[in-house]
C-alpha cells in the first residue's frame, strides 16, 4: 500500500484506515454509499419480514421482496416519480418549490386522454398510427407551457413559488376535473400504451437488455479512461489505478446485475400463452402448465424452459425512459451552462445576478423543464393505467419532494444531485411497495412514509454536521 502514498493529494490522509483511504482514493460520495446501504437494508428487511408473515416466494432471504418479479415491478413503479424528482431537484436547488406537479400530472394526462379518446380516435379512426405521436407531443407541450407559466409568475410577477404552485395544486386539479367531466377517460391508444410498461410490446427482452447494459459498461469504462487522460493532460492529481479499476468494476457489476435481475423475470404465463396463440406460435409440450414459471418467452418466440436457461422480459419502457431522463438531467445539471447557473443562483442569487446571469429567465426555464418532465410522467402513468382521471397524480407532489429531499437536496438551496434524488425515489417506492407486500393497512403505510421522510432528513443533518 505504501506505493500509493505519493499519489494522495494530502499526505495527512494516508494515516487513515483502509476504508477512509478507499473513499478518498475513489472519490465516491460517502452520502451515496449511506443511501445505497440504507436501501439494501430496507430491501433485506422487507424480504425477511414478508418471508415470516407470508411465506417463501423465492426471495433471496426467504420472502417475496428480493425476487426478480418484485424488483422488476419496483423499477416500473418508481419510474414516474423518479422522472419528476430529477426536475424537482433543480427547482429546490434554485430555492423554489413546485407543489403543483401532482395536479399538473392529472391535468396533462386527462388532456392527453381526452385528445386521444374524444378527438383523435373518432377523427382518425381508432388505432391510427399518428394518434400516439400527436398525444405525446401535445402532453409534453402542455406540461412545458404550464411549468413555464408557474415560472413566469414566480420570476417576473415575483409571487413566491410556494404560493404560485399551491394555487396550481388546487386549480390544476379543478381544471382536470372539468376536462374529464369527472369521468375516467379511457382507453388509451394501443401504441401509446407501450410507454406504460404493462404490455409485452413495452418489454425489450433479454437480448436488448444485455446489449444496452454492455454499452453502458463500455461507456463507464471509457468515461473513466477519458477522465484520467484529461487529468494527465492538465497535470492534475490522479486517482490511483486500483481505484479507477474498482470504480469501473463496481459500475459494471451494478449494471450487469440489474440486467440479470430484470431478465430473470419471465413473462406471466397467461400473457405468454395469449401471445403465442395470437401470433400462431406452436406451443411446445409442457407449455400449458400454468402452475409455475413453466412458460418462458424470448422477445419474439415462445421457448421451452430448459434447466438453467431462462428467457425474461428485460427492461420495460418506463424504466428505460427514466434511465434516459436521469442521464440527460445529470448531463444538464453538471456539464452545461444552464446547470452551472442553476446551482450558482441557488447558492447565491445575488452573486449570480452580479455575474450577469439572467436569473429570472433561468427560473422560467427550470419550471418549464419541470413541466416537461411532468408531461413525461403523465404519459407513463396514463399509459400504465390505460386511463386518465383527475386523481391520477394525487399526492405525487409530496412523494416527489420527499424523494428529492431524502436524496440529499437541501431546501436551503444550492445543494442536490440527480442520482441522489433518483435513489431517494427508489427508496420511497421500496418502502411503499414493501408495505404493500406485507398487506399493511394504508393508514399505517402513510404513517411510516411520513416518518421515514422526517427521519431521513434528520439523519442527513447529522451527517452534514459531522462531515464539516
Amino acid at each position: 500500500m505504501s506505493k500509493h502514498k505519493g499519489s494522495s493529494a494530502d499526505p495527512a490522509l494516508t494515516d487513515d484506515g483502509p476504508i477512509r483511504r478507499f473513499l478518498n482514493a475513489t472519490e465516491i460520495d460517502t452520502r451515496m454509499i449511506g443511501m445505497i446501504a440504507a436501501l439494501l437494508l430496507i430491501w433485506c428487511a422487507f424480504d425477511i419480514a414478508s418471508g415470516i408473515l407470508r411465506g417463501n416466494f423465492g426471495g433471496l432471504l426467504g420472502g417475496s421482496f428480493l425476487t426478480p418479479r418484485n424488483l422488476w415491478n419496483l423499477l416500473n413503479q418508481t419510474a414516474s416519480i423518479a422522472i419528476m424528482t430529477t426536475g424537482m431537484v433543480l427547482i429546490i436547488v434554485m430555492r423554489h418549490i413546485d407543489l403543483s406537479v401532482g395536479s399538473m400530472l392529472s391535468l396533462v394526462a386527462v388532456a392527453g386522454a381526452v385528445l386521444q379518446v374524444y378527438e383523435l380516435a373518432p377523427d382518425l379512426g381508432v388505432g391510427h398510427w399518428a394518434i400516439w405521436i400527436i398525444a405525446i407531443v401535445a402532453i409534453l407541450a402542455l406540461g412545458t407551457l404550464i411549468g413555464a407559466f408557474n415560472g413566469f409568475l414566480t420570476a417576473y410577477a415575483q409571487i413566491p413559488s410556494f404560493i404560485v404552485t399551491l394555487g396550481g395544486l388546487i386549480a390544476y386539479s379543478g381544471v382536470a376535473f372539468l376536462l374529464a367531466k369527472g369521468e375516467t377517460v379511457a382507453p388509451m391508444d394501443k401504441t401509446f400504451k407501450v410507454l406504460g410498461g404493462t404490455i409485452p410490446a413495452s418489454w425489450i427482452g433479454p437480448f436488448w437488455t444485455w446489449t444496452l447494459s454492455l454499452i453502458a459498461c463500455a461507456v463507464i469504462v471509457l468515461a473513466i479512461i477519458n477522465g484520467r487522460r484529461q487529468r494527465i493532460r492538465f497535470r492534475f492529481p490522479l486517482r490511483p489505478v486500483w481505484a479507477e479499476v474498482t470504480l469501473a468494476a463496481l459500475g459494471s457489476i451494478t449494471v450487469l446485475g440489474a440486467a440479470w435481475i430484470v431478465n430473470s423475470y419471465p413473462w406471466p404465463p397467461k400473457l405468454a400463452e395469449n401471445y403465442a396463440k395470437e401470433n400462431n406460435i406452436v406451443i411446445p409440450p409442457g407449455i400449458e402448465d400454468r402452475a409455475g414459471d413453466a412458460i418462458c418467452m424470448a422477445a419474439d418466440k415462445v421457448v421451452r424452459c430448459v434447466e438453467g436457461l431462462s428467457f425474461g422480459t428485460g427492461y420495460a419502457a418506463p424504466v428505460l425512459v427514466a434511465f434516459a431522463i436521469g442521464i440527460i438531467m445529470t448531463f444538464l445539471a453538471t456539464r452545461t451552462r444552464f446547470g452551472r447557473y442553476v446551482y450558482a443562483a441557488g447558492g447565491n442569487p445575488e452573486a449570480a445576478v452580479l455575474a450577469g446571469i439572467n436569473t429570472k429567465m433561468l427560473t422560467v426555464k427550470v419550471f418549464a423543464l419541470m413541466g416537461f418532465l411532468v408531461g413525461v410522467s403523465a404519459i407513463i402513468s396514463s399509459a400504465r393505467l390505460d386511463a386518465a382521471t383527475n386523481a391520477l397524480g394525487g399526492l405525487n407532489e409530496l412523494y416527489v419532494i420527499a424523494a428529492a429531499v431524502i436524496g440529499g437536496t437541501s431546501l436551503a438551496g444550492g445543494l442536490g444531485t440527480i442520482y441522489g434524488a433518483i435513489l431517494g425515489a427508489l427508496m420511497m417506492q421500496s418502502i411503499q411497495s414493501g408495505m404493500g407486500l406485507l398487506n399493511l393497512p394504508a393508514a399505517f403505510q402513510n404513517i411510516v412514509v411520513g416518518s421515514v421522510l422526517v427521519i431521513a432528513v434528520w439523519l442527513d443533518q447529522i451527517y452534514r454536521r459531522n462531515v464539516k
Binding site: Q230, R233, T336, A344, L354, K468
Partner: protein, 260 residues
C-alpha cells in the same frame, strides 16, 4: 492629468422609493490612477459604484469611457467594457468551486458546447498561483475556504479578464494584516499596468497609502475631490463627518456652503 479621463460619471442620480441615494454625483478616473471613495455608511458610495458595475440602473446622468458615452444597463454590459468589480460581500456562489466562481457567467466551453471544466480548472490554478501560491483546494466549494482565500478568488475573478477599470469595494475588510498588505501590493502592481482603480474603503490609512486622489460623499452628494498629497487626515474627516470642504480640495455639490 490626461485630457480625457479613462472613465467619467457625470451627474448621476438614483432614487429608491423617494430617497435620493445618489444625487447628481460626478466622478472621474484616469488610467493607472487609484481614486479612493470615502463616506459614511449610506453616503451613496457603494450605490454609485454599483451603477458603474451595472448592478443598478441609474435614473439620470451619463457615463463616458475614454470620452465616449456608453450604455451600462446590466453587469454584462459593464464587463464587456472592461469594468470589473470586487464586491464587499465578494458575491461568490458559495456552493461551487473556485473555478466555477472565477468563470461564472463566462464559462469556457468545449466544441460541443458543454462546460470545459478541466480547462477552467487549469486556468484557475495558474491565476490562483499568482495571487495565493499556497492555495490548493480547487475541488471544494468556496464556502469551505478561509476569508483570505475567498477574497483571493474574488480578486482573481476581477483581474483575470483583462480589466481596464477595477472597482474594489472594501477589499480588505475581511482580511488580516498580512493579507491586507498583499492586496496593497496587488493594487500597486495593477496600477503600474495602467488599470484605473476605484477603491472604496472605511480605512483612511488604506486610502492615504494607496490612492492618488480621493472623493468624499455625504447624503448621496459629492462633498469634494482632492489629491491625497494635498489634504491631511483631519481635513478628510471633516469632509466625511461635516461635509466641510478644505481650501485645497475641489468642492462638489454636497459641500457645506460657508455663506449659508
Amino acid at each position: 492629468m490626461a485630457s480625457t479621463p479613462l472613465i467619467e460619471m457625470r451627474d448621476i442620480s438614483i432614487a429608491f422609493g423617494g430617497i435620493k441615494a445618489v444625487d447628481h454625483a460626478s466622478i472621474d478616473l484616469n488610467p493607472g490612477e487609484v481614486v479612493g471613495l470615502l463616506g459614511h455608511n449610506g453616503a451613496g458610495k457603494s450605490t454609485l459604484i454599483k451603477i458603474l458595475s451595472g448592478a443598478y440602473r441609474r435614473d439620470a446622468g451619463s457615463i463616458f469611457i475614454e470620452g465616449k458615452e456608453v450604455a451600462i444597463n446590466n453587469p454584462r454590459d459593464a464587463k464587456a467594457l472592461g469594468i470589473e468589480t470586487i464586491y464587499q460581500t465578494l458575491a461568490l456562489a458559495d456552493n461551487v468551486d473556485a473555478a466555477a466562481n472565477l468563470y461564472l457567467g463566462r464559462e469556457l466551453r468545449t466544441p460541443f458546447g458543454t462546460l470545459d471544466d478541466v480547462a477552467m480548472e487549469a486556468e484557475t490554478r495558474k491565476v490562483m498561483h499568482r495571487l495565493n501560491p499556497n492555495f490548493r483546494r480547487f475541488k471544494e466549494p468556496v464556502i469551505k475556504l478561509s476569508g483570505g482565500q475567498r477574497q483571493s478568488v474574488a480578486i482573481a475573478r476581477a483581474i483575470h479578464f483583462n480589466a481596464r477599470i477595477l472597482i474594489m469595494d472594501e477589499p480588505t475588510a475581511a482580511l488580516g494584516p498580512q493579507e491586507t498588505a498583499q492586496v496593497g501590493e496587488l493594487i500597486k502592481q495593477l496600477k503600474a499596468e495602467g488599470i484605473g482603480i476605484f477603491l472604496i474603503s472605511h480605512d483612511l490609512h488604506d486610502v492615504f497609502d494607496l490612492a492618488d486622489r480621493l472623493v468624499v460623499m455625504k447624503n448621496g452628494k459629492v462633498v469634494g475631490t482632492a489629491r491625497t498629497s494635498d489634504v491631511n487626515h483631519d481635513e478628510v474627516l471633516g469632509m466625511i463627518i461635516a461635509g466641510k470642504c478644505p481650501p485645497s480640495a475641489v468642492p462638489g455639490p454636497g459641500a457645506l456652503q460657508s455663506a449659508a
